[in-house]
């Protein structure tokens, strides 16, 4: 389609008519600043085609403020080798005329013809909207909407598909998708879309079938139980009948009774045996008694002999005990004598020993008294001399301080004198022979020297007097101090009653010597009487008293024995001298040892004697008893009838033995018989038969009751008609199963069909998209070499993948940058245009201010693309950037210029 002329009158901005003529078949560029009316031209073309001329809702087409205007558009174009002229005016004068060669169409007819020619629709009511615009909506791009592709494609989808089908030269199917949707809906009635699980009627049928199967299972279990019970019932009944006829317990009872009879016979025999055994025991007891009696007689004889022997032994024992007593009495008397002597000797020894000790003490006491008296005399003398020294010392006492003071005074005096001499006026004189001078009172002659310390008159005989006054105050002061010091010294000397320092020193030394002497005297006294003289004296008195006491004690002692040596030989050896000697008396210890030994011996003997006497008494008692026993035994032995009695007992013994022997034989026989009959086994037999019979009877009874129970049970179960019920359920189940199978088959077929249809559709769609892909790829390679864009189900561009230096990248169309989307949007539309053209459809491309977001490099590529497209399609390009489009090989028309020209 090629527009050749456009005339616009009273339309929006164009109050005045605007005419554009001589439009090129390829690219036409219109430039002008904003508000110059570029978009208005595009709007006029849209209105001419899309809006019904009768539409009342196109008031916005009038110039602003001009309510009486009739917007009018005249278009001339050529398509399919036919020239068309469209004249359309709105509102004021509503008109639409289409001329094509000889064809002239008016009004709605003209409009519908145009719509089918360019492939768009008119709005049913009101102003035309994007969804009506079809193919032109895709190719006539409004300002700033290049990138908004998807909707435009959707609105053009049918026209595009038709074009694709035509271009493919093949029928893609009429209503295929409707069939597909129907199949899918039918399939989804039976199966869930996602997992393919049963649903709806199919699921319900399966549930029903499963429920029936479950009921049948339950019922079958009950029927099996019932049948089993019937069989049990039959076998039990047979067993019961057999028992009732045979009565097996009766024979058992019979055998039980037989065994009981046998057992009874054995019991009688057992009793006889027991009687025999009892008798045998009695006889055994009697035999024992008889034997014991005979033994008793024998024992009496033996007893007599024994008693006699015992008496003899007792007599002997008594004699020996008496001898023992006698011997011990003798020894005891001797020991008594020895003890008496030993005690006397010991007493004497102790007495002499004491005397000896007293004598020695007396001597010692007297020596001590003498010694203490001497010491006391010496101490008294010493004390007297010390008192004298003390008096002497008191007279000559001079203290060390005083002496020191004296010494210091003397030193001071000397010191002053030296100072005086140093300060004094030295007067040296050498007098002529015999010449004298008088110094004060003193007469001086010869050669000498005087120190003058105080004013002096020097009388020079014959010459007068020289009054010499030593210079300075010091000398006078010194003189005064010397005088004071001298006075003090003298006063102290007087106080001390000495006449010089030397004398004081001497006296002090003397005093010190006296002190030492006193100390020495004290020492001596202390040695003599360390605790004082009085104590010494007291000690002396004490010792004197002790000596007196000892003498008194000695006086009280009995006189010393003159001669006792014979009585206690070796005891007091020292006493042989006969005098109370000084030497100590030995033997006290020995005497005391003898005393102890004899006392011990005496005790021993006394004890032995006592025991011997006890033994003798015991022996006497035994003897008495033995004699008594003997007498009794003798009496018994000599009793009358004893021999008769012995004979009688012997006779009885013989008889009893005979009877016992006979009894033994009988017991043996009976025991043997009982053993052979085995009574325990017989008892077991009785028990066994009895229990067996009871068991049989019990079993019979129980079975009879069980049969009754089971019969009732079976009768009530049978009344339920279980098997018929199961047959009914099975019938229903078979029907349910059939329904499940039918639905399953249908679902499977639908599922299979759906998959197959989708697969075929997908294959076909891919093939349909191929030509569009070809055109798109053509432009895409010019924009992005190495790139590829997919075309989706809706024929919109989808995933873009491109390979550059960094590798492969890409993304969905919607995720691209604004600039890239605009570019892809534009080349997609160019590709649709190519496709439509191939299918013989009219194509006109209107681009209002496009690619304003493209960078320089992309714009260069896009210009190549547009130039290429313009070789196949007419393109109207409106821009406010004329400088960007100078290299397109066409002259841009300036809109202002056009308006002026018109």
């Amino acid at each position: 389609m090629k527009l050749t002329r456009i005339r616009i009158e009273q339309f929006k901005q164009f109050r005045q008519a605007l005419e554009i003529d001589g439009l090129a078949p390829g690219l036409n560029i219109f430039t002008g600043p904003n508000e110059a009316g570029k978009s208005t031209i595009a709007a006029a073309i849209r209105a001419a085609f899309f809006e019904r001329h009768r539409s009342g809702s196109v008031g916005d087409l009038r110039p602003w403020g001009d309510s009486s205007a009739s917007p009018k558009i005249t278009l001339e174009f050529q398509t399919r080798k036919q020239h068309y002229r469209l004249t359309k005016s709105f509102l004021g004068s509503r008109r639409c005329e289409l001329e094509a060669g000889t064809l002239r169409l008016d009004g709605a007819e003209a409009e519908d013809h145009l719509a089918s020619l360019l492939r768009y629709e008119h709005a049913g009511k009101g102003a035309s909207k994007a969804e009506h615009w079809g193919i032109p909506g895709l190719l006539w791009i409004e300002q700033g909407r290049t990138q908004e592709l998807r909707e435009a494609v959707a609105y053009a989808a049918d026209h595009l598909s038709a074009a694709l089908n035509e271009s493919l030269g093949e029928i893609a199917g009429t209503g295929g998708d409707e069939v597909l949707a129907t199949i899918e809906a039918q399939r989804n009635e039976l199966l869930t879309p996602s997992s393919g699980a049963a649903r709806g009627a199919y699921a319900e049928a399966r549930r029903h079938e499963t429920a029936l199967a479950g009921q049948i299972r339950t019922l079958t279990e009950r029927i099996d139980v019932y049948r089993h019970n019937v069989d049990t019932f039959a076998s039990m009944r047979q067993a019961h009948a057999s028992d009732e006829a045979g009565k097996p317990w009766e024979s058992l009872r019979k055998r039980q009774h037989e065994a009981e009879e046998s057992l009874k016979a054995i019991t009688g025999m057992q009793q006889a045996l027991n009687t025999d055994r009892q008798r045998a025991a009695e006889l055994d007891e009697r035999l024992g008694l008889l034997r014991a009696q005979l033994e008793a007689f024998d024992n009496e004889v033996q007893d007599l002999t024994r008693r006699r022997e015992a008496r003899d032994a007792a007599m002997q024992l008594q004699a020996s005990a008496a001898e023992q007593v006698r011997q011990w009495q003798e020894k005891n008397a001797q020991a008594l004598l020895r003890d008496t002597r030993a005690r006397a000797a010991a007493r004497l020894a102790r007495q002499e020993h004491a005397r000896h000790a007293l004598n020695r003490e007396a001597r010692e006491a007297r020596a001590k008294v003498a010694e203490l008296a001497a010491m006391l005399a010496k101490a008294d003398a010493q004390l007297a001399s010390r008192l004298a020294l003390q008096a002497q010392a008191a007279a000559s006492e001079i203290s060390s301080q005083d002496l020191e003071r004296l010494r210091r005074q003397a030193d001071r005096r000397r010191e002053l004198r030296i100072q005086q001499q140093a300060a004094a006026t030295r007067m040296h004189f050498v007098l002529a022979q015999d010449c004298v001078i008088h110094l004060g009172e003193e007469i001086l002659s010869g050669e000498g020297e005087r120190l003058l310390i105080e004013p002096a008159s020097l009388a020079l005989p014959g010459l007068g007097t020289l009054q010499i006054t030593p210079g300075g105050m010091d000398l006078a002061q010194l003189e005064r101090e010397a005088a004071r010091c001298e006075e003090q010294h003298a006063a102290l000397l007087r106080h001390l009653a000495v006449d010089s320092l030397e004398a004081a020193q001497e006296r002090h030394d003397q005093y010190r010597q006296l002190g030492a002497d006193i100390k020495s005297a004290d020492m001596t006294l202390k040695a003599l009487a360390p605790q004082g003289i009085d104590e010494l004296r007291a000690r002396l008195l004490k010792h004197q008293a002790r000596a007196a006491d000892i003498d008194t004690a000695l006086g009280k002692l009995p006189p010393a024995p003159a001669m006792i040596a014979g009585a206690a030989p070796g005891i007091i050896s020292g006493a042989i001298s006969g005098a109370p000697s000084e030497a100590p008396i030995p033997g006290v210890e020995d005497a005391e040892a003898e005393e102890e030994a004899s006392r011990h011996a005496l005790e021993q003997f006394a004890q032995a004697l006592n025991q011997a006497q006890l033994a003798a008494a015991g022996a006497h008692h035994v003897l008495e008893s033995a004699q008594h026993e003997l007498a009794r035994a003798q009496a018994l032995f000599e009793a009358p009838q004893r021999a008769d009695r012995i004979r009688e007992v012997n006779q009885q013994l013989t008889d009893t033995r005979a009877e016992r022997s006979a009894l033994d034989e009988r017991i043996h026989q009976r025991t043997l018989a009982i053993e052979q009959a085995r009574p325990q086994i017989l008892e077991q037999d009785v028990d066994r038969y009895r229990r067996s019979a009871e068991q049989q009877e019990k079993q019979f009874r129980e079975r009879r009751e069980a049969l009754l129970r089971l019969e009732v049970e079976l009768q009530s179960a049978g009344a339920l008609g279980l098997e018929e019920h199961r047959a009914e359920l099975e019938r229903d189940h078979t029907q349910a199963l059939r329904r499940v199978e039918e639905l399953q088959q249908r679902a499977a077929a639908l599922d299979y069909l759906l998959i197959l249809l989708r697969e075929k559709r997908s294959t076909l769609t891919r093939r349909l998209r191929a030509p569009l892909q070809k055109h798109l790829d053509h432009y895409l390679q010019l924009l992005f070499p190495q790139a590829h864009v997919q075309i989706d189900e809706n024929l919109s561009p989808g995933m873009l993948t491109h390979t550059d230096g960094q590798g492969t990248g890409g993304g969905d169309f919607e995720s691209l940058s604004f600039g890239a989307r605009e570019q892809i949007g534009l080349i997609s539309r160019l590709a649709y245009a190519d496709l439509l053209k191939e299918a013989g459809n009219p194509t006109l491309i209107i681009l209002d201010d496009v690619l304003v977001h493209s960078d320089e490099a992309r714009l260069v590529r896009m210009k190549r693309i547009l130039f290429d497209a313009a070789t196949r399609h007419q393109i109207l390009l409106f821009t406010c950037h004329p400088e960007r489009w100078r290299d397109m090989g066409v002259t841009a028309r300036d809109l202002d210029m056009l308006r002026r020209q018109t």
Binding site: I171, A172, G173, T174, G175, G176, E178, V179, T182, I183, I223, Y226, N229, V230, D231, F233, A234, R237, E711, L714, Q715, G718, A719, L720, G721, L722, E723, E724, H725, R726, A727, E728, E730, R731, D732, H733, T734, Q735, R738, Q745, R746, A748, A749, L750, Y752, L753, L756, L757, K760, R761, T763, L764
Partner: protein, 376 residues
């Protein structure tokens, strides 16, 4: 002269789950009606007694109403009914028979023989030797005792047994409950009335299976009869007449469709079925869409007229013709799908492909029909 009616295998209580519920109910009901007809027949023909050779009931545990219903159906003949239990209703310690006796549901003229003891009927002068099954299955010949059984001289000796005559019937018949071949002759029987085999069948001149009086499955032939037996005198050869008693005729069809006329023939056969026909149809071969439609409509018609129609088309391959496809206007990928489904019928998913093809073509022709309706 003795006239008796020999029948067996009533299988009362049997249900027919393979059919739709309404058909199943009618078929179950028909069994009672047949018994009523048997009673009428016995009365009309003036028989002396009716022998029922086992399997009166299909189950032991039938409902009480079923019991009452059956014995009610038998009241049309007032003469003696001598009945033995078969393997389905064996005389167990507790059985459908003990229950019926306990319920006093059994009329006085009906004599269930639960013990192997001769039944002597004075007036017609006949001794019936029954061999009732007392277990569900037995492997001993229960007719063994017949030979040794003494019967009053001059009386006819008639055996009544349920089981499988050895060596005569097909091998797939259960070998349980055996009956020795030649038992009638060996036991000096004038007639041996047999049950178990569901078709009427002659074993020898004195031994017959009566078969079930109302057909209950597709397999057996010659079912749906009772035997009318006439015995002139002891030792005479019995005169046996098979009288049709069944209401429903069971047909089993397994056509293979190869050429168009095969279908035409099948459609005609289907059209010929009437109200008392029960049909089992199993079709195989190939068919185009038009043929499929015809077959489908013929089947639907048959379902309308016949008592029950079971259909199995799994062996049938759907093969749309060029005209079919053109008429469907299945273009685009629908056309491709149809091609693929046609081909897939030779593959492992043949049944699935056929079902899918039926669905798709059905949908398409419905659409076309709808479009045709809206067009004018």
């Amino acid at each position: 002269m003795l006239k008796l009616l020999h029948t067996a295998d009533w299988q009362i209580g049997k249900l027919f789950g393979q059919f739709t519920p309404d058909v199943a109910a009618l078929l179950a009901e028909a069994r009672f009606e047949t018994i009523e007809r048997l009673a009428q027949l016995a009365t009309q023909r003036g028989v002396d007694l009716v022998l029922v050779a086992g399997d009166v009931f299909d189950l032991q545990g039938v409902a009480d109403r079923t019991l009452y219903r059956l014995f009610k159906a038998m009241t049309g003949f007032a003469g003696p009914w001598v009945v033995i239990p078969g393997n389905h209703d064996a005389a167990l310690a507790e059985s459908v028979w003990t229950r019926a006796l306990r319920l006093k549901a059994i009329p006085d003229n009906v004599m269930p023989c639960l013990q192997p003891q001769p039944v002597l009927l004075e007036s017609p002068g006949v001794a019936v030797l029954p061999a009732p099954l007392t277990q569900r299955h037995t492997y001993t010949d229960l007719t063994e005792w017949f030979a040794g059984a003494e019967t009053p001289p001059g009386m006819l000796r008639i055996g009544l047994a349920h089981g499988c005559v050895q060596g005569l019937l097909a091998a797939d018949i259960d070998a349980a409950n055996p009956i020795a071949a030649g038992r009638a002759a060996q036991a000096r029987l004038d007639y041996l009335a047999l049950g178990d085999w569901h078709g009427a069948r002659r074993i020898d001149e004195r031994s017959w299976y009566a078969g079930t009086p109302e057909t209950d499955r597709f397999r057996n032939n010659d079912s749906g009869h009772a035997l009318l037996v006439e015995l002139a005198a002891p030792g005479g050869v019995p005169q046996v007449e098979a009288v049709a008693t069944g209401r429903y005729h069971w047909h089993s069809l397994e056509p293979v469709l190869q050429v168009p006329s095969d279908l035409t023939e099948l459609v005609q056969r289907l059209a010929a079925f009437a109200a008392n026909d029960v049909v089992n149809l199993s079709v195989s071969g190939r068919i185009d869409l038009e043929g499929h439609r015809r077959l489908h409509s013929a089947i639907e018609q048959a379902r309308g007229t016949a008592r029950g129609v079971l259909v199995d088309l799994t062996g049938l391959q759907l093969d749309p013709s060029v005209q079919d496809i053109e008429s469907l206007q299945a273009d685009g990928y629908l056309g491709l799908t149809i091609q693929e489904l046609r081909a897939a019928q030779d593959g492992p998913n043949a049944a699935l492909a056929r079902d899918a093809l039926v669905l798709l073509t059905g949908l398409l022709s419905d659409r076309r029909a709808a479009a045709a309706r809206t067009r004018p």
